[in-house]
């Protein structure tokens, strides 16, 4: 009994922290006067969730139960998921999709607990990246990288500019694919204290999801960028729970000592190769941009749903079941569009009223909205 109470207390503390981080993230992405989540490109997440959230939450619940029942090992989970980025975003969805799914409170708590357990496989004790660090590699994994990389000088202005452009374009590309949930395609981790300096690793994956046919012409499906910064830079490299990029406003560019790249597991040894990848990437971004601009709201919501269900794929692959969205999702988008749109417009109106309210007041409203226990 005592054990159960302690476990519940721990879960409640974790949920408190999660809700706090969600609210901070929403408010941190906007200025005080803006209505939150309404300005997200190209579709406010809340709008999409209204159409697919319930079915998605049930699907997530199903796979978490299957993982539990089948006694899937931590090792297998780590191998299939590879990164914590998807799990942390599933936790965010516990604040809306899961919360409003109609599942029982017990089921919701089971899901959150299970997601935190999976997250701890990657982040061990530092689940919330509270010190600005996201340490997911152990010594062994770090040793492998040291042996197989080719280092470029970060102090060379031209090379520094080239890698900066490549990094920013990759980041923007994941935003093109996964919109506000771009960490579904990337994971930044570190900084690891190394002999040569502070190591930051930026991994990009799922860059050619079938959801987006335009992505199929990209010349690579993933890659890793290893950055060694001058010793002492680490405190300025702030990463956060949702892995949305470097959170410090301080400049790091001039402290980059060297960098290395692997693209589709191949070590890159020539700057020309980086330029070619960049050129291809820019082309795909251009094409993808045109595709997204041509979509109407319903088509956008359909894509939104598709990539959120696609994000469940690694978990479903683990239990060898199908991850695709059920028919109900399409029905919601195309048959119940007007009905749900009325609800969305009402929500947006309420949100607009928040703009300009004192910060504390906005925090209070959003906490209420995103707390899965309420």
């Amino acid at each position: 009994m005592v054990e159960k109470e302690l476990s519940m207390q721990k879960l409640n503390e974790q949920i408190d922290k999660l809700v706090n981080i969600i609210v901070k993230s929403i408010l941190g992405a906007k200025s005080k006067e803006e209505p939150s989540v309404l300005t997200l490109w190209p579709l406010p997440t809340t709008q999409g969730v209204l159409y697919w959230g319930e079915e998605w939450a049930k699907k997530l619940n199903q796979v978490l139960h299957l993982i539990e029942e089948q006694g899937i090992s931590d090792k297998d989970i780590k191998e299939y998921l590879k990164f914590p980025s998807k799990i942390v975003h599933f936790l965010w969805r516990c604040g809306d999709a899961v919360k409003n799914s109609g599942l029982t409170k017990e089921e919701k708590l089971f899901m959150i607990k299970k997601l935190f357990e999976i997250l701890s496989i990657f982040r061990k004790e530092n689940l919330f990246c509270e010190n600005g660090k996201n340490m997911i590699w152990d010594k062994k994994e770090l040793e492998i990288y040291e042996k197989n990389l080719y280092w470029f000088s970060g102090e060379n202005k031209k090379l520094n500019q080239l890698i900066s452009n490549f990094k920013a374009s990759l980041y923007l590309y994941t935003e093109l694919l996964y919109w506000a949930q771009h960490p579904l395609g990337h994971c930044f981790h570190g900084p690891y204290p190394e002999k040569q300096g502070d190591l930051l690793i930026k991994e990009y994956f799922d860059l050619k999801p079938k959801v987006w046919p335009f992505s199929q012409v990209l010349n690579f499906s993933g890659g890793e960028i290893f950055e060694i910064y001058k010793k002492g830079t680490a405190p300025r490299i702030k990463l956060e729970f949702f892995e949305r990029g470097i959170q410090t406003t301080k400049s790091l560019k001039q402290d980059l000592k060297k960098f290395a790249l692997r693209v589709d597991k191949k070590t890159i040894k020539k700057a020309k190769e980086i330029s070619q990848f960049l050129e291809n990437l820019m082309e795909v971004i251009k094409k993808g941009g045109k595709v997204i601009q041509s979509l109407n709201t319903q088509q956008m919501i359909e894509k939104h749903a598709d990539y959120w269900f696609y994000a469940l794929k690694p978990l479903y692959d683990l239990v060898q079941e199908d991850w695709h969205p059920p028919k109900q999702v399409r029905d919601n988008i195309y048959k119940r569009y007007e009905e749900l749109d009325v609800i969305w417009k009402e929500m947006a109106k309420e949100r607009s009223k928040m703009a300009g309210l004192p910060y504390k007041e906005q925090v209070k409203i959003l906490k209420e909205e995103f707390d899965p226990r309420k």
């Binding site: 993230s25 408010l27 941190g28 992405a29 906007k30 200025s31 005080k32 006067e33 803006e34 300005t39 490109w41 190209p42 520094n160 900066s164 452009n165 990094k167 920013a168 374009s169 980041y171 923007l172 590309y173 935003e175 093109l176 506000a180 771009h182 949305r244 990029g245 470097i246 959170q247 410090t248 406003t249 301080k250 400049s251 790091l252 560019k253 001039q254 820019m282 971004i285 251009k286 993808g288 941009g289 997204i292 601009q293």
Partner: protein, 114 residues
């Protein structure tokens, strides 16, 4: 030597440090990205991936919307260029070809005065 006086024309949220001088390029629609020249300062409402061709040429970014955790801010930090976000009215106050200085640490946009 006496420092030239600088007039503050706009304030916003500091999003990526650094000071840069440059010519303003206001881009309200991604179709205008070709207007952007290497070293220009990109001014828009809010960046999104459709602005990539302009973003990679920018020496600084100023946007109307967003906070310190917004995508414009994170992208500027990836590029290592100064950025000021959440100005509220940059696209209205600033004009194409204007020469300005942006201070990404203080979140201030200056115009040179005689």
């Amino acid at each position: 030597m006496k420092k030239p006086k600088q007039k503050i024309i706009l304030k916003g949220i500091p999003a990526s440090v650094g000071i840069v001088k440059g010519k303003i390029r206001i881009i309200l629609d991604p179709s205008q990205c070709s207007k952007m020249k290497e070293g220009d300062i990109l001014v828009t409402e809010m960046t999104n991936p459709l602005f990539t061709p302009a973003i990679v040429k920018a020496s600084g970014i100023v946007v109307d919307l967003g906070g310190v955790l917004s995508h414009s801010a994170v992208v500027a930090r990836e590029l290592g260029i100064p950025a000021v976000v959440g100005t509220g009215k940059a696209t209205k106050v600033l004009k194409d070809n204007m020469l300005i200085t942006i201070d990404g640490r203080k979140g201030i946009i200056y115009a040179k005065t005689k």
